[in-house]
Point group: C2
């Protein structure tokens, strides 16, 4: 098994609302591979998918039970503290819930968490210790 | 906010067990950026991190409540049905729980789900409709 991930799928309670957030809100372009119940966004190599939560549970053959903490977070690295502030202001306008306002954190960076419209946790952070290459990937 | 994800962090109940699964088990190489409580694996552009679940909850400022379905899945695309079978046999030996044995699925592919040692859902699938480029990324 090679060190790679191809698709991250976020189960959505409301596909229209979720698609609105990522496509119209963030301006991410839907892949032509999207069809029927599934929406794909091609990111930096990996693909982000949105899929109705109950169908994702059915596909994985697990019960779609109410969540506590998913124990998974997805991080977006920004290029400066100001960019973190600007991105958090933007997603809040788009209907995201700000869970942890931008702040200096123990590891020396500047970080914030929001929940997207479906409750998935995203961290938006700036780290003075890493840079981002042209493809948008962390150099580490 | 550009279309990208930099880090996926999996909260671990037991860091030693989780690291054993990904590092010694799957043979993924730990990044030198790993330190203290956090382990990083550099994948195809994005980074996979392992971090104690209770500290991840603390970092995100959310309660570390027991989970139902996280509503997030991570997919690994294999190159053939036989490779799906082989990978599932391998992770089972490494202590993963096979949730959905490899099988033909409604969208025309061949798919399987397992939970890693910490309970995170991975799909291992073969799709006859997509190819994988040299970097390990889906062409779609």
């Amino acid at each position: 098994m090679k060190p790679r991930i191809n698709i991250i799928t976020l189960g959505a309670e409301n596909m229209e609302r979720a698609t609105q957030f990522y496509e119209q809100g963030l301006g991410w372009q839907k892949s032509k591979a999207s069809s029927g119940d599934i929406v794909f966004f091609k990111l930096n190599g990996i693909v982000l998918a949105l899929y109705p939560a109950h169908l994702l549970a059915e596909d994985a053959t697990v019960p779609d039970e109410p969540r506590g903490f998913s124990r998974i977070t997805i991080a977006y690295n920004a290029s400066s503290e100001a960019e973190v502030d600007a991105l958090i202001a933007k997603v809040e306008k788009l209907g995201a819930t700000i869970i942890k306002p931008p702040q200096k954190v123990f590891w020396g960076g500047y970080s914030s968490y929001f929940k997207d419209t479906e409750g998935h946790l995203w961290e938006v952070a700036y780290s003075p210790f890493t840079t981002i290459d042209e493809a948008g990937n962390l150099v580490m």
